[in-house]
Symmetry: D2
Subunit: 336 residues, 4 copies
């Protein structure tokens, strides 16, 4: 679909989301890049047409919410102008059909507040928010960061982007005990389910803890409060993601979790080739390039190259990423 | 009970355990230390009488297996002579009533093999085995280490001690794919359930993945193969540990997991005070001292001080550890 | 002095600096903040009057060059607008009297290029440039980053900001072997003199290696090519910094290094209280707040508070920082 | 030379060394391994004949002291029996001609004390001592460790083995301020000259700070107290090492440092190929294997393979190590 950018009027503000509003399958959206976007010479790298198609495709497939502009959504490598235009395109295309959270992590509190306010004005429901990462954050500084943004942007919900590797911070239990009382903090995107479990009681009813889709079956079985998850696979083909959500819901009714588990096992089979032998440390050196190569290989949406400086990876790592994409696409066909 | 050390004859060798033999609640045993054992001047720091009482207490309470001489069991700080004498005491006291695995992690392959053979000769069932940690291990070196020990000690089962912090190694999926084919590798003691889940299919039927008791409810719900766990709480009072095992077993029959979950929530409440604000990094600077202080405060067994050089911790961290111990003891009373 | 911002015309472009042009004492300038700048509510935190006074003070004292907007210069926490206005004020105030390099490190290649071009248009001589730090950089990505910026901004010199802690990159010898051939790379700001020494032959004649003032005596003695250094002490009072430069120059003539050494020893005495007991890891959690507290306590210039989120530190760490500032001021008096 | 092990009588105890006794070039000795020592099957891996030849060769060449059983000397991978027998062979062969320090780093305080006492009884002059590394050491624990060993072994000098990577400890200034007052702590083996410089005033007159030979020229120029260094190159051919010592001594008389500097530059040229592109982190994964391959390729002594589990490295890293060895040998020929 051809997307035409336009001047727009201020939307009527929706009211602040609650943890109870965060449910189901939330897709992580990359920001599609034009061919050649791996070069510094490309000043406008956004492929908004591809983005619009993907957004509509996700919503049509039944996705419950959208998170974007984290690591894979390239918050680090989009220019400020691209961020603003992508946000606008996203909010306008979504048009209130599902909640959407845009990443507003920057190098400091004030830039984050400014960008978060911009997103709020566009009508975004929330921010997926990590920590400034030039210096190693301390516990008090991390807590205050989220408090400051909440104070400055009271009508924007916050999904805490709890990625210890990117943000050099362990997000320990005392952190959760403190941020749980910020009304704007409605959800948390975890990378490790162990940490999610550890914090569950500290945040119950106050913060919706979201595991990755690979851990959703696990989370759902252990606690009824785990009723939402994030999916980086959705943009490789949303059917398995939606199927998982629905199978878990069905299992919660029937008590028969066989299919939810089998689907999860299949997902693990699909993603395993994208993890290098060097473990999470090696993965984190190439994660954007890996995930975009995987998504591109899956063929469901047009994602284009990673933006500089994160577009390079060794051939054997690219091959693993592509295999993971192809496997997901194969699984998506079966899930029809 | 007063334990009398004696010369002993070679036991009849039992056959190699299998993953299927690893079931239920496995207690992590500290090696009780005499008063004053925080000083380098104490050459014989073992309080074997207290150990015997604890071993018998654990078995009488219904524990399914014993793991010892990992981090809390002070593999790092026992002398070689103490290790050998403690192993002997343990194996003799257990007397085949439950399987027991002793830690034989050292700074290199050959010392580990020698100590593992010694343990095998005593009649231990297996070794809980981490990696030499002077240098950062690589994937091929880590795999070969476990292979070498298996080749050298074919009748000793191995429980892989997957502690990334202590051993400077991520234990990534390709590691598990390779060690799963070593027949001696029958189980894995995980610190992070996220990693356990990630590797589940790679090791199914070949390696029993053991989460900590705090994650056992979670693990059990998500996969029937998760049928064993490790407990550092058992020596703070084994009743909650045993109750958890039994509640999970009951839930597997009835489908009603309410009590297993409630017990798990209670356990999290009990342990939370022992984690410092600085997160896992800070915890790992004091972990032995923290856990021994917690166990001592719980009052179920006599553990004594941590051995040098790991016996010091700030007062506020000690206070948290002791609160955790007291809470567990309180919970153990209710669990009667 | 009261500084009045104004619209300005494009300066005549000076030609690209060479490593040979980088000589003597280069001051690291903080970006003075108004009272209250530790709050997110302050949108215009720049105290340009104080900056102008400091810039003139440094130049009047005889400083050879200015580096700014690194870690202490708060590249991370200034807004884009503040960065641009501070750069303009700096370049205009310096007015070609000494070379000045402004930091243009951002989260990605393209933002860095845009900001570097902006600085070039203002008339800045170069950029003090670190690496994007959301992801861990790889060797090829790091090299390409500097190449891309050089290609895009051919008339801007680059001072490589080799801070392994901030940028998650070791800056190993193969990196230097490759960037040495980029003509724009004229200097390198090292934090560790050991690494500087290791790379000296790889970059001789191509990149001026700059140690911190504390290591300048050492560097100067070992190699004549080490003829420039960076000083974070200059803004605590420039006299010791200038005296060191001159003593080293004198010693190079006379062969008598006694005074240069004594001055260096005095500097170590002055700065030691600002390093926390936890070593460099702990220092790096509070470095901006520490250095601004130190500078403020020294009383030579008005620096104001650190900007959010990096303005908090424990009291005992603040006390150490302030002692270091007071000691420097004391030393500066003696150096008259 | 064929070495015959024998029962030996207790030597007359020499008096405790002082920092003033630590002078000149100290060779780092590997512990020669027999062919096949990379296998766990080899129980006696010591090639004492080769060790004796190397010891005599070093002393004949004019070396001032010997340090052994650190990382390259394989303290981690020798068995206890091998350590004791190697120590005996070393002390007996040296026969008081030069001071010798043996590594007694273990996993805990008491094992270290026992081994240090054993070494003292043999007649070793001191221990090159790192920290137990199973857990991350804290500042108080690290200081107490060295104090405990000093108290237990009052007649053994200590060379603090300040390797942050191996021992997970930054060795920050407050550490040095405290250990400087332990009379047994007479020297420190630094890996980073920047840290050495930072601590120089804190330890002046109390601890002889030793840089690596590559940094000795630098150290010697900046401070007369830097009058000793350690050399891992000596066993690739001691001539350049001795020449460096002598050139520095000469330069201290004449003021002409040209030759000392040229020799240092040549040494950097020789060693550079052994550092992998991944920087110090990658080097530290293979350091033992790298250094033994380099020494073997140099051909001056028979070192044999690295012991398990540290004997594996990628081919391109081995190639770099061997090139470094060959370059040193070439340089040693010229230095005749």
């Amino acid at each position: 679909m051809v997307y035409k950018e336009r001047t727009r009027t201020m939307p009527t503000k929706r009211k602040l989301m609650t943890p109870q509003d965060v449910q189901g399958a939330w897709a992580i959206m990359p920001t599609s890049a034009k061919e050649g976007a791996e070069s510094w010479r490309m000043t406008d790298s956004l492929d908004l047409d591809a983005s619009v198609d993907a957004i509509n495709g996700l919503i049509d497939s039944g996705i419950d919410g959208i998170l974007t502009m984290g690591t894979y959504g390239e918050a680090a490598t989009l220019t400020l102008d691209e961020k603003k235009r992508f946000m606008a395109c996203l909010v306008e295309t979504v048009a209130g059909r599902v909640p959407c959270f845009v990443g507003t992590t920057t190098l400091n509190t004030r830039d984050t507040i400014e960008l978060t306010r911009y997103a709020a004005d566009l009508g975004a429901d929330g921010t997926m928010l990590g920590l400034p990462m030039w210096c190693t954050p301390t516990l008090p500084a991390a807590v205050r960061f989220y408090k400051d943004v909440a104070e400055a942007c009271p009508d924007m919900a916050q999904c805490i982007y709890a990625n210890p590797e990117a943000f050099r911070f362990d997000f320990p239990p005392p952190f959760w005990a403190q941020v749980a009382d910020i009304p704007q903090v409605v959800s948390a995107k975890y990378t490790a389910i162990g940490q999610l479990i550890q914090n569950l009681e500290l945040t119950r009813g106050k913060v919706r803890a979201m595991p990755i889709e690979l851990d959703y079956y696990a989370g759902a079985r252990i606690d009824d409060d785990i009723s939402a998850f994030w999916s980086s696979g959705a943009v490789c083909g949303p059917k398995p993601t939606i199927a998982l959500r629905d199978e878990v819901a069905r299992a919660r009714e029937t008590g028969d979790w066989t299919k939810a588990k089998a689907l999860t096992d299949k997902m693990w089979w699909a993603v395993t080739p994208m993890f290098p032998a060097g473990g999470f440390r090696e993965f984190s050196m190439y994660n954007i390039a890996i995930d975009k190569a995987r998504m591109q290989a899956a063929g469901w949406m047009q994602v284009g190259p990673a933006r500089p400086p994160y577009d390079m990876m060794p051939d054997h790592i690219r091959a693993g990423a592509e295999t993971a994409g192809v496997r997901w696409a194969e699984m998506a066909k079966e899930a029809v």
